[in-house]
């Protein structure tokens, strides 16, 4: 179905080629996962399949590409449109018309298809993707997962033989991502459609894929093979696989179900793990209050987003606010920084510099942001300067702070090498960190982060985790809203679970996360033991306790550079 023969591609103006001597053969009906760090050429490879590379991007390509018996380099994307369906990363920018049904029919209308046949195709596709109930809706009212399914439906109407998806779930929350990936698995199984997917969230698809193509980047050769073989050789893996590799389980378990088999043997070998559970919650003196939320309610368009929420956060605490989409996480964070004012109740913010507390209903926003820094979900909303350094200087200027040497801050965030670059040219993970730097430049005592891991790969996530842990030891109070269970398990002391605008559970991270089915980490699902949430927890028990390197367990090749 797909044949790449020694393909080398170089972007216009680039010195080194992105793809070098790449050879790949994909059979009809195969489900291929493309993985690799950001910038390794995943998107480029996918765009070669329908001729967007080199027709849309320019550059020079060598070697032979064949897709469904055609040559995309000669035909270009228009000539490949009916053979290769392409779905992009961002669910917001793929729509041409406003109504779902019209969007799906759009390509067919332009291909001058017979109206009777067109109706039949549209109905089929609506059913295949389970979106018939959305047919009359406007795309602007859909959730991210629904939008991506509409985008898939829109390309499926041309009945392509290959479906190519470029990180279709990286902007989605876990539930929405699951909807999209399930739809893909169904298309692959039911129709025998060839699917080429690049994806960070391996946990969900790994049991359904046939092969993995790993692109290491930096001119190193690609690795192709079945999932177990490839995952055994690479470092960017989900916690289950990372642990299995560290404990040398073989064959590598891909699902929790497979992992449980090893756990049984392991536990018999190790005695009861919880007997030696590490007590990480050191009960010291109660710290001073940082933020107190007292009976806050907030309604928006007649919908009660927050319903009588009370919460106290102490200084130096790391709180993860979790809950499904629309549970009120972002609304709560916006209350903490005074962007939204409560209808009832109040939010008070304490500063360690002054004895008085700020009431967000009375205090000016400029006073609040001296104490509280808020990093919004989308770093693009923030970045506008020509260089990273200027972004930091802009925040300090706004706060009336003197200019400062920002090298230390940039180094902590692993951005020192990018100080002079245009922020929007950086990768998603780097842009996220520039946004954090722009907020931290004002030196707030409390840092709020809204979904900081959206769009990050494992490596970028590790960099973020390392940074957040360092900030925690420096005594900064951090409150983070997240869907990312693994992230919360790694860093948070405390988890606040919101549901329908109310606090459902509020307690120590270990306790909350081990009692939950949805909000528990992979490792916790594996061991079903509150003492074991992360890979480190298990390895700490596994290794002889007298070794000094306990806290420095090498995981997933974490690095900030």
């Amino acid at each position: 179905m797909i044949g790449f023969d020694r393909v080398t591609y170089r972007y216009p103006g680039a010195q080194a080629p992105v793809l070098q001597e790449l050879s790949l053969h994909v059979e009809e009906g195969e489900f291929l996962l493309v993985m690799g760090p950001s910038g390794s050429g995943k998107s480029t490879l996918l765009r070669c399949l329908n001729g967007l590379v080199p027709h849309f991007y320019g550059g020079t390509i060598n070697g032979r590409v064949r897709v469904a018996g055609r040559d995309p380099v000669a035909l270009g994307p228009r000539g490949m449109a009916d053979a290769v369906g392409f779905v992009f990363q961002d669910p917001e920018t793929q729509f041409i018309v406003d109504k779902v049904e019209d969007e799906i029919a759009f390509s067919l209308e332009n291909a001058a298809m017979d109206p009777m046949l067109m109706r039949k195709r549209v109905e089929e596709v609506l059913d295949q993707l389970g979106i018939a109930h959305l047919r009359h809706r406007s795309v602007n009212t859909l959730s991210g997962g629904e939008r991506q399914r509409v985008a898939i439906a829109a390309v499926m109407t041309l009945q392509p033989r290959v479906l190519v998806l470029d990180e279709p779930t990286s902007q989605l929350d876990p539930q929405a991502a699951e909807e999209v990936l399930d739809a893909l698995v169904k298309l692959n199984h039911d129709l025998g459609l060839t699917v080429i997917l690049s994806e960070h969230r391996l946990e969900r698809v790994i049991q359904h894929i046939d092969r993995i193509l790993y692109l290491p980047g930096d001119g190193q050769p690609a690795i192709v093979g079945d999932p177990r073989t490839v995952l055994g050789q690479v470092s960017l893996t989900p916690p289950l696989i990372t642990l299995a590799k560290a404990l040398e389980w073989s064959p590598l378990p891909l699902t929790i179900k497979e992992g449980r088999q090893f756990v049984k043997q392991y536990e018999a070998h190790q005695q009861r793990a919880s007997a030696r559970a590490p007590s990480t919650t050191e009960e010291g003196l109660p710290k001073a209050l940082a933020i107190s939320v007292e009976g806050v309610s907030f309604s928006y368009n007649g919908h009660r987003a927050l319903n009588d929420i009370s919460l106290e956060v102490r200084q130096g605490e790391f709180v993860a606010v979790m809950g499904r989409n629309g549970a009120g996480k972002t609304t709560l964070l916006m209350h903490l920084v005074g962007l939204l004012k409560p209808n009832q109740g109040r939010v008070r913010i304490a500063s360690s510099d002054s004895p008085a507390t700020l009431d967000t209903r009375q205090a000016a926003i400029d006073e609040i942001i001296r104490v509280v820094g808020y990093v919004p979900q989308n770093p693009n909303a923030l970045l506008f300067s020509d260089t990273v350094r200027e972004e930091i200087a802009f925040t300090r200027l706004n706060h009336g702070l003197p200019p400062v040497d920002d090298t230390a801050l940039l180094e902590r965030l692993g951005l020192a090498a990018h100080a002079g670059q245009y922020p929007r040219d950086l990768s998603v993970g780097e842009r996220q960190r520039v946004a954090v730097a722009a907020i931290l430049a004002a030196e707030p005592q409390i840092l709020l982060l809204d979904e900081p891991t959206r769009g990050l790969d494992y490596q970028q996530k590790e960099a973020l985790v390392a940074f957040l842990e360092a900030e925690k030891t420096r005594g900064r109070t951090i409150i983070m809203s997240t869907h990312d269970v693994e992230l919360a398990a790694r860093c948070a002391d405390r988890v606040v679970l919101l549901g329908d605008g109310q606090v459902v559970v509020d307690g120590p991270a270990r306790q909350v996360m081990s009692e939950s089915l949805v909000f528990s980490s992979q490792i916790n699902k594996l061991f079903r033991d509150p003492a074991l949430l992360t890979v480190e927890d298990v390895l700490r028990l596994h290794r002889p306790p007298n070794r000094d390197t306990i806290t420095d367990v090498p995981i997933s090749g974490a690095s900030l550079s």
Partner: protein, 374 residues
């Protein structure tokens, strides 16, 4: 419910008299007819909510027109009160006739607004765009993309404003516009490029096969040269008609010739565009009935103006009577504009459409405020 073309005909039949007539009795009839149509058919549509806003603006126009005309026009015999003559412009007698004339002018504007607001509430905008003639289909596509694009831009703008605000950004002068405009501009450009890529990947505009590209290209240039010539012809004809004495025959000849040439070229271009329509709305018997009714209304107005102009126009100033003249035949014909309301959806269909609009608003509610959702 009705075909898009039916609504276009209705709009023409209601808007032409609203624009041309200044007789309050006829205007009130048109206003009433469009109100009835809105009540029967437009209230359940999502855009229908803006009807009230349009009408409120129209009422404001009436009030402004009354005050302005009463203060500035001092004709008439029924003096309400007088302002000192020394006051510039507004000084002098304030008459009932002037106030009434102002009210009639305002009523005209109000009627036009109500007619368009009703059309806006009842017509399916996407279908209307798809109904653009074939030669202009690219314009239709551009407009429909813009309609999809604008709500997203508004959301981004709000998001950016908030993000910069909590970074300590304050708006003090033009220089402070940069942190707001730059991210919006960059985001919009990124979106536009993404959209272009999507359309490319979906094979948009694959109408032509590569080997037929050459002759079509030449034909496109020919068509553009032809259009330009036709436009010049139209211009020359107009100049002959207005400025050159005795150029009437030549002028009309040129106008007709150029107009016909233009029509042929556009028709030819439209024929080259190959595309089909999904769910082409069918023309049904009730469309014919309403179209005929609208035709009668429009014909009655034109016939009235030709046959009995004194029953159509109105001016409150002496020597005319304050009471407007009225032609009952034209009045009855204008009432036909309310006919679409007779095809009010059955309660069952109405419930379905209500349900669909409710499900939309439920979905909106689950979103968190201020567009922070993906």
């Amino acid at each position: 419910m009705f075909h898009t073309l039916t609504w276009v005909i209705w709009l023409a039949a209601a808007a032409v008299p609203a624009f041309t007539l200044r007789n309050p009795l006829y205007l009130i009839l048109i206003l009433g007819a469009s109100w009835i149509v809105y009540l029967a058919l437009g209230r359940t549509s999502p855009v229908g909510r803006s009807w009230g806003t349009f009408v409120r603006i129209g009422v404001l126009f009436v009030a402004v027109a009354v005050v302005f005309n009463a203060l500035s026009s001092h004709f008439g015999t029924i003096v309400l009160f007088s302002l000192p003559d020394t006051w510039p412009i507004i000084g002098g007698p304030i008459t009932l006739e002037a106030a009434i004339a102002g009210a009639v002018n305002g009523l005209g504007l109000l009627t036009i607004l109500a007619v368009f607001a009703t059309f806006n509430a009842v017509v399916d905008h996407y279908q209307l765009l798809r109904a653009t003639p074939a030669f202009a289909f690219q314009i239709g596509t551009v407009v429909s993309i813009a309609i999809t694009f604008v709500p997203q831009m508004v959301l981004s703008a709000a998001e950016i404003r908030q993000a910069q605000r909590i970074r300590g950004h304050r708006f003090r002068g033009m220089r402070d516009l940069l942190p707001l405009v730059m991210p919006l501009l960059a985001t919009s450009l990124e979106r536009a490029i993404q959209l272009a890529e999507t359309m490319e990947a979906r094979g948009f505009a694959t109408v032509l096969s590569p080997d037929s590209l050459e002759p079509t290209h030449r034909r496109a240039i020919l068509a553009q040269v032809g259009l330009l010539a036709a436009l010049l012809g139209l211009l020359a004809g107009l100049i002959l008609l207005t400025f050159v004495a005795g150029g009437n025959a030549w002028g009309w000849g040129l106008l007709i010739l150029s107009g016909a040439g233009m029509g042929v070229i556009l028709w030819g271009q439209g024929r080259q565009v190959r595309r089909t329509r999904y769910r082409r709305a069918r023309w049904q018997s009730h469309d014919t009935v309403v179209a005929i009714a609208c035709g009668i209304a429009l014909a009655a107005v034109i016939a009235g103006r030709l046959a009995a102009p004194q029953t159509m126009a109105y001016s409150p100033y002496p020597p005319n009577s304050l009471l407007p003249p009225f032609n009952p035949y034209v009045g009855a014909a204008l009432l036909l504009l309310a006919l679409p309301a007779a095809y009010r959806p059955t309660p069952l269909a109405l419930r379905d459409s209500l349900r669909s609009s409710v499900s939309i608003s439920e979905n909106e509610q689950t979103n968190e405020p201020d567009g922070i959702q993906p």
